[in-house]
């Protein structure tokens, strides 16, 4: 094994840090000395920092190349018959027939009502259920293999203003995370860059393909801004002395000014390049921001606390940005502001901790219902990489606390497709859409349900993953 001692630090600003999600697992491994500072809250924060600053001592260059079969590349005509079709956008169809042709959904309906193709692979899925593939609205899939091994982490660029960083160019199509994600029925994810103030551009990808290009559904999908926080999450260690308070405000104001300055520069750049009076030296960062300031590319603002969300909305107003809110733990406190502006929300992670000690214990489980009751468009994100496969359980946990079950399913299928402007392609079983379809033996939001078949782009994908292969291997240990 190569033994370079590379002192690389994974920069801060990950989902884990901003969401209040504990470093996973809490581990309680060796932590820096600041752990001994005393307050439990400090300890938690330090755990998070320690996890984020994980220092890799070994390069593992051979990792991260999956041997799981990829999509076969044959767009066959396939008929699924006998199962219950749950299109999500319309009522379930018992004993339905679904026809896939050229990678698309050609037809579906009750048995007998659908015109059968002359030649097709016919699969009997009686007693089973056909759902659209699920969509995770925020992950790091494709950008990271092993959190603590810096050589496998491509989520977080250095610096604060990385508008030109693109997830799409760094997706590893042969990551082991991809089969692991898709075999639980998650066929699409948004892969999100992390860190800094402007983190970069996300990509909506599908969980099959031999090259990044084959996987990309839409890129850039959005610009990601970690809106500056007045205090780092969670709400602890409120500085008591005015000096410290002043320092915090100063650095906060500096960060917001930085963001404002670069967007103003982008506006000027757009005017200059649009004027065509003379040649303009190109600036790739400003160029990346032009569609943002022109309101063509959505901005996903990551903010959780009420104050930060309000500041982000105000900022979006100032620059007339097309804003989507992500994270959004305090979303119940800003309903009128979101509603009046039609700002959609990417809620999650749901299986996380509220940030204040006196927050209701179920705050994160009830937020989805609050949004639904108020008619605000939302989707659910896991903010995960290795466990984006748990998307259905984040949605299901909202249903345990009052969100109607069918809406929970929509929040991980058609809702994200609508928010991202791809509802004509994915998110439901409808004629003409890409055939991203899963076959299950039950409700996909339930833990005990097995995903029996996965189709992406109309091609049946192996249900093997690193995890099933390890299982098979050791089940057979002599």
């Amino acid at each position: 094994m190569r033994n370079h001692t590379v002192h690389l630090i994974r920069p801060s600003g990950t989902f884990a840090e901003e969401s209040g999600r504990p470093a996973r697992p809490r581990e309680a491994g060796r932590m820096p000395a600041l752990l001994d500072a005393g307050r439990r809250a400090t300890k938690r924060q330090a755990h998070r920092v320690a996890a984020v600053l994980a220092l890799a001592l070994f390069c593992l260059p051979l990792l991260a190349q999956s041997t799981i079969p990829n999509n076969p590349g044959r767009k066959q005509t396939i008929v699924l018959r006998g199962g219950t079709i749950v299109p999500v956008t319309s009522a379930p169809i018992p004993n339905g027939t679904l026809v896939i042709e050229n990678g698309k959904i050609k037809a579906f309906g009750p048995a007998g009502s659908v015109q059968m193709p002359t030649a097709a692979v016919v699969l009997d899925v009686s007693g089973q259920f056909i759902y659209p593939g699920m969509i995770d609205s925020g992950t790091n899939v494709g950008l990271v293999e092993i959190d603590s091994v810096a050589g496998t982490v491509d989520t977080t660029e250095l610096g604060d203003l990385n508008a030109n960083a693109q997830a799409a160019v760094a997706i590893n199509p042969h990551s082991e995370l991809i089969p692991v994600t898709r075999v639980n029925g998650v066929t699409n994810v948004v892969s999100v860059p992390e860190g800094g103030i402007i983190s970069g551009q996300s990509a909506l990808i599908q969980m099959a393909g031999w090259t990044p290009k084959e996987m990309i559904v839409k890129a850039p999908l959005a610009m990601h801004i970690r809106f500056p926080r007045l205090r780092s999450a969670p709400l602890i260690d409120v500085p008591q002395d005015e000096e410290a308070e002043k320092e915090l405000k100063k650095s906060y104001t500096k960060d917001v000014d930085k963001l404002r300055d670069i967007l103003r520069d982008a506006q000027a750049y757009a005017r200059a390049t649009g004027a065509k009076v003379k040649r303009v030296d190109r600036d790739l960062i400003l160029e990346a921001l032009v569609p943002v300031v022109e309101g063509r590319l959505p901005v996903i603002m990551h903010a959780n606390l009420e104050r930060d969300i309000r500041a982000a909305i105000q900022f979006a107003d100032e620059f007339k940005l097309k804003m989507i809110l992500a994270g959004a733990q305090d979303v119940a406190r800003v309903i009128p502001e979101l509603k009046s502006r039609n700002i959609p929300v990417l809620l999650g992670p749901i299986l996380a901790m509220p940030q204040r000690e006196d927050d209701p214990y179920d705050l994160l489980f009830t937020n989805a219902k609050t949004l639904y009751d108020n008619g605000i468009k939302f989707a659910i994100q896991t903010s995960e990489a290795q466990n984006a496969r748990n998307l259905p359980y984040h949605a299901g946990s909202c249903a345990a606390f009052g969100l109607p079950k069918d809406v929970a399913l929509k929040s991980i299928t058609i809702f994200p497709a609508e928010i991202f402007g791809v509802a004509d392609q994915i998110g439901s079983i409808d004629v003409g859409k890409v055939a991203n379809v899963i076959v299950t033996d039950g409700d996909p939001l339930e833990f005990r349900t097995n995903v029996k078949r996965v189709f992406i782009g109309g091609e049946e994908i192996s249900t093997d993953s690193r995890h099933t292969l390890l299982y098979e291997k050791f089940k057979a240990r002599p």
Binding site: R21, P22, R24, P25, R26, E27, A28, G29, R30, M31, P32, A33, L35, D36, A37, G38, R39, R40, K43, L53, A54, L55, A56, L57, L60, L63, E145, I146, D147, S148, V149, E176, L177, L351, A352, M353, P360, Y361, D362, F365, A385, Q386, N387, R389, N390, Y393, S397, A399, A400, K405, L445, E446, F447, R448, H467, T468, L470, Y471, F474, R477
Partner: protein
């Protein structure tokens, strides 16, 4: 025989811990610690106070050890389950809980927690810190304990961290939210200690504090050596005391060896008075520890994390060692890259006493999710899955005669769920510990408005006072 007597320290005894002097050596004795007076007082209490009687009726009772009872009842008297069955008439003085349509399970037992610890969970300074005790730094104001009750978790093993090959002594507690911390430790529960193998004790992922050298060990070789050396030293230490005792018995002049709190701990492990719970990931290090135990004469009660347990499940089972694991966390570091969610099923099928545990304040409030996933990953039955949360972890903690199932005579640690606990759509309505309802969703909802009012009032008062102070100050300045 050694002389044992109890130092009557009131503060300690209230907590149920006595400081027992043997040979003039201090050991912690959780069980026989109450002074006679205190014991009599406690025994006399029920005679004065009205004994609590609760009948839960019309519920589906998941007894764990005796199957499922439809339309069943559980009768609680005082802190214990008095009867379980189909037709139990409500005693005249009973509080009756009608749980029609609901499920009752035993409280969830979590064998890996760091909740309710004041300050750092790691005494980070030495490779072996077996002399320190988590019991000394427990705190009753960690809101996470309440949130875990709201997820059905009632008992936990609060562990020292994994920074050292041999860490500190851990403490088994119940989440007795609202009670003084002295009442949280489970009386008579075994003493436990944390060991740790692999990346954490060899400091693979964390930078030492500025200006300090790296701490030994830096390899898995060194981890083994630390444990081997510690037990070797303990054998010498015990021999020295035996020699001293023998001399004294023969009325010879003898100088007692120097008392050493670390060696006392190591000796108590060898005597079987302290259970070892060891953090581990890779199969090689698991075998290393089990074999070392065989050689040096100590047993491992439970392997913690044990993500590669499936590779050596039969060796683990042959040692009578248990395994407490995460169902599906993987890829957060190199030694977690060969994890598979089928680990639980393979361990169970090879006869390993297996539980799912949290190592996280967040996961600890939905451990039922992890148990449920074992039905998907490897096909455990509902009954086997439920055991992962209840009787199995209770047995790992040697508390199977008191908790972990619904049987007459056991502690009334019960959870009432809105549906089957292995469903994503279920949530907890009520959690009780020893017959006392410590989480009640209806009450929690009721109290929210009052709590918010109280908080607002206090904040306003504080702001007013600040304004007044400032006003006064300005006047003075003028």
């Amino acid at each position: 025989m050694s002389k044992t007597y109890v130092i009557p320290s009131v503060a300690r005894n209230l907590g149920g811990w006595g400081t027992r002097y043997e040979h003039g050596r201090t050991t912690r004795a959780p069980a026989p610690s109450l002074t006679l007076g205190m014991t009599l007082l406690l025994l006399a209490l029920p005679a004065f106070a009205q004994e609590r009687v609760i009948l839960i009726k019309n519920a589906t009772i998941l007894t764990i050890t005796n199957g499922r009872i439809e339309n069943g009842s559980v009768l609680i008297r005082g802190s214990k389950i008095a009867a379980v069955g189909k037709d139990i008439a409500a005693p005249a003085n009973a509080q009756v809980i009608d749980a029609t349509g609901k499920f009752v399970s035993p409280g969830i037992v979590d064998t890996h927690s760091h909740t309710a610890v004041e300050g750092s969970v790691n005494e980070i300074s030495l490779p072996n810190t077996g002399m320190v005790r988590i019991a000394d730094v427990l705190t009753a104001d960690d809101i996470s304990a309440y949130r875990q009750l709201a997820g059905g978790t009632t008992t936990a093993l609060v562990l020292h961290g994994s920074a050292n090959s041999i860490g500190g002594q851990s403490q088994i507690v119940k989440w007795k939210w609202g009670h003084p911390i002295a009442e949280w430790p489970v009386q008579g529960a075994p003493r436990t200690i944390k060991f740790a193998l692999g990346e954490n004790p060899k400091s693979a992922n964390f930078r030492p504090p500025e200006g300090t050298p790296r701490q030994y060990p830096a390899t898995r070789m060194g981890v083994e050596e630390v444990i081997r050396q510690s037990f070797t030293d303990a054998r010498d230490y015990m021999a020295a005391w035996d020699e001293y005792d023998a001399k004294k018995k023969r009325n010879e002049t003898a100088i007692p060896p120097r008392r050493d709190l670390l060696m006392e701990t190591m000796a108590d492990i060898l005597r079987g008075n302290i259970d070892v719970h060891s953090h581990c990931y890779r199969s090689d290090e698991i075998l290393m520890l089990l074999n070392l135990g065989d050689e040096l004469g100590f047993k491992v009660r439970e392997l913690q994390h044990v993500l590669e347990g499936y590779k050596v499940a039969r060796e683990i089972a042959a040692h009578g060692t248990g395994g407490g694991t995460f169902i599906d966390w993987w890829g957060f570091k190199a030694e977690a890259y060969d994890a598979t969610p089928y680990n639980v099923a393979l361990m169970v099928k090879n006869g390993v006493l297996t539980s799912v545990n949290s190592d996280s304040d967040e996961l600890a409030r939905h451990l039922n999710h992890d148990a449920a996933k074992s039905m998907k990953y490897g096909g455990l039955t509902e009954d086997e899955a439920l055991r992962l949360n209840t009787i199995n972890p209770a047995t790992q903690l040697r508390l199977e005669k008191r908790i972990g199932s619904i049987e007459a005579g056991k502690d009334a640690d019960l959870v009432i769920w809105t549906g089957h606990p292995l469903s994503v759509y279920s949530r907890v309505d009520t959690t009780m510990i020893e017959g006392e309802i410590l989480f009640d969703r209806a009450k929690d909802l009721q109290q929210r408005d009052a709590l918010k009012r109280e908080k607002d009032e206090r904040l306003k008062k504080e702001a007013d006072e600040a304004k007044k102070d400032k006003g006064g100050k300005e006047k003075k300045d003028a």
